[in-house]
């Protein structure tokens, strides 16, 4: 068990792949914003890769360990300390009852840390997932972010041989301040919705992440007016970004409202009346969650569906690699 002393900016229970199968009923998948860091953290502490962990956005939070166990911290380096001593990332560490765990704040690169606990987080599954949908206030820990004095239960597990396991450094994800997101155009693209020039801009220009970025959408900087291949939205509305309401290719949709593109992610809308001009490939979704709002940039890189499927397969193989974890 772990007690929250200070909930910081936003600490949530999230798993992977989240709550699939309910988009047609208006429920987004939610799930970890950086699914790679969560999955690696889980594998380090001997959990199933998709088990729920704590997603720490921004930092500034403190916890008290209320039961002996083993933890691993992955993702962005927020200079975590355990009992005042520096805590190494990407490594399984024993914790004792009474230990305090402190996270400073996001630093040079990355915006989210994951705290994975051997055994996993014990919250009830809601519609097949432990993930919090913050936007809809359901799932996870009472449908909300954690606050002071919350006690999060963990599942007990045989802890023998877990402490000391660590990620093979060759698999360490690369962090930076400009995130290259491989993406596929569609469903709304050239020639009917967007100009060739517009797509060149979208796929060639580093775009700053707005301060207006949350678990539902990461807003990016505006596209130029030459982006549009049409005068208006026809039956969908007056602006060329309007369309008769359609389902969104969520998670990963590049949705444009007015001239502002947004990356629709975890808790994003499932359906609406704006065009979706591209989709960030599944294997690169994790990078969005590490983009620092109001500071980092994203750059879309055009790839084919075949490339994207190959990248998915490689990711799945990597997570099963025999040399992934060093004992």
């Amino acid at each position: 068990m772990i007690k929250v002393l200070n909930g910081g900016i936003e600490v949530l229970v999230e798993d992977w792949p989240g709550r699939l199968g309910y988009m047609g009923l208006g429920m987004a998948a939610a799930g970890a914003m950086d699914n790679l860091a969560l999955q690696l953290g889980n594998l380090i502490v001997g959990n199933g890769a998709g088990e729920a962990g704590l997603e720490i956005a921004g930092g500034y939070c403190d916890f008290e360990i209320t039961e002996d166990g083993v933890i691993a911290v992955t993702g962005s380096d927020m200079s975590p300390t355990l009992g005042g001593e520096g805590l190494p990332l990407w490594q399984a560490v024993s914790v004792k009852t009474g230990d305090t765990l402190h996270f400073s704040h996001f630093g040079d690169a990355g915006f989210r840390s994951y705290l994975c606990i051997a055994g996993g987080i014990d919250v009830p599954e809601y519609l097949g997932s432990k993930s919090t949908c913050l936007f809809g206030s359901y799932g996870g820990f009472e449908g909300r972010k954690l606050a002071k004095d919350d006690v999060v239960k963990t599942v007990r597990k045989n802890l023998a041989g877990i402490a000391g396991r660590k990620l093979n450094p060759k698999y360490l994800p690369e962090y930076g301040n400009e995130w290259e997101l491989r993406a596929i155009p569609g469903p709304n693209s050239v020639p009917d919705y967007v100009t060739e020039e517009g797509m060149d801009y979208l796929f060639g220009t580093p775009m700053k992440i707005s301060h207006n970025a949350n678990r539902a959408a990461y807003r990016l900087q505006e596209v130029p007016a030459s982006f549009w291949a049409r005068e208006d939205g026809g039956k969908g509305g007056s602006h060329p970004s309007n369309i008769v309401d359609h389902g969104y290719n969520m998670r990963g949709a590049v949705n444009v409202t007015g001239n502002t593109p947004s990356l629709l992610i975890a808790d994003g809308p499932t359906l609406g009346g704006f065009v979706c001009v591209a989709n960030v490939i599944n294997a690169d979704l994790w990078k969005i969650g590490q983009g620092i709002p109001a500071r980092d940039k994203v750059k879309l890189k055009l790839v084919t569906v075949e490339d994207a499927i190959q990248a998915r397969k490689e990711r799945a193989e990597m997570l099963k690699a025999e040399d992934l974890i060093l004992c």
Binding site: L25, V244, N279, V305
Partner: protein
């Protein structure tokens, strides 16, 4: 050909079937779009739902979920299990098995929902809007939106209420908010048209019944929103799943095809039903299994009195929308 082209395949128009486009939408998404030009026709939705049911009936490994909307269906799948082209072939097979409108029969439950007009919760939402969002909002006469809706449609408040009660409201798909359906009037003589709030509300009570454009929505939980409000109906969603109607999921509406029929009751009755749904959990929903025989519906639309009535209403509406204040 542009490297940003997204149309992977098409089915040509045939008989009364419109052209169908398969658009790439990511490495796990394909959009099936009905018609190259956007239009708002329930007939397209009937076809989408008939095909959607067939696609889901056949065991398609790798299919995760579908998101039908009025003129498109977003297919979410795992491309490591089924290739995009193989999935398109399956959907084409389902398409080809439906020869034409004469063959189309849609499963469609009839859900009778009580509604109270001019209730206190709707009034509260409108008052809050005036106080907190837009003091001079022209759509909030006497604490409700009904006067404004009447103005926009060139008719009286009583006409507005009667049109809501007279028609069946057909669900083309769910989305936007957990459990929410997008409902369309089946009787063109009741096809009210109203602009959405500008800017949107920050609070709407659970059960509010609203309309934006021609589309009706029942608010499943308290949330923001932009539709003009008629009044308040009973719960159409229950997160806790305590009531037997919700034992398999928090949703009242199925992903699509349901029809609503409203009956007017007092606010006291509505409040009483809230108690019997959420607290005593013994309210019995009035839901009847039924179907839409599309041919019969088209015959109804072609009746002289329906054609004449719809044209007369459209003329009044045009006049009304010209004089009503813009939002």
């Amino acid at each position: 050909m542009s490297k940003y082209e997204v149309i992977l395949d098409t089915l040509p128009a045939k008989g009364d079937r419109i052209e169908i486009l398969f658009r790439q939408a990511g490495d796990g998404f394909i959009q099936v779009e009905y018609g190259y030009e956007q239009r708002v026709e329930l007939l397209d939705s009937f076809r989408i739902l008939a095909v959607d049911a067939k696609v889901k009936q056949t065991k398609n490994n790798g299919l995760i979920e579908t998101l039908p909307s009025l003129r498109a269906n977003m297919i979410h799948f795992d491309p490591t299990v089924i290739s995009p082209m193989a999935l398109i072939d399956k959907i084409k097979e389902a398409e080809e098995s439906i020869a034409g409108v004469d063959d189309m029969v849609i499963d469609s439950r009839i859900i009778t929902l009580p509604i109270a007009f001019e209730d206190s919760q709707t009034k509260k939402a409108v008052e809050m809007y005036l106080k907190q969002v837009r003091k001079d909002a022209p759509n909030c006469t006497d604490g409700y939106n009904l006067e404004y809706m009447a103005l926009c449609n060139g008719c009286s408040v009583d006409d507005i209420k009667q049109m809501l009660l007279d028609t069946y409201w057909y669900n083309s798909g769910c989305g936007f908010w957990p459990g929410g359906g997008f409902f369309w009037p089946m009787d063109p003589r009741c096809k009210m048209l109203v602009p959405k709030y500008n800017p949107p509300r920050i609070w709407t009570p659970e059960g509010a019944v609203g309309i934006g454009g021609a589309c009706l929505f029942t608010y499943t939980t308290a949330t923001g929103g932009g539709y003009q409000l008629f009044g308040r109906t009973i719960p159409t969603f229950q997160f806790s799943m305590k009531h037997p109607q919700f034992k398999d999921g928090p949703f009242l509406y199925r992903p699509s095809g349901d029809r609503i029929k409203f009956v007017e009751v007092s606010e006291k009755e509505i409040l009483d039903i809230y108690d019997h749904v959420h607290d005593r959990t013994d309210y019995v929903y009035d839901i009847v299994d039924s179907r839409i025989v599309v041919k019969e519906y088209l015959d109804f639309l072609a009746k002289p009195e329906v054609v004449k009535g719809a044209a007369e209403f459209a003329a009044r509406q045009e006049q009304g929308s010209g004089t009503a204040p813009k939002l």
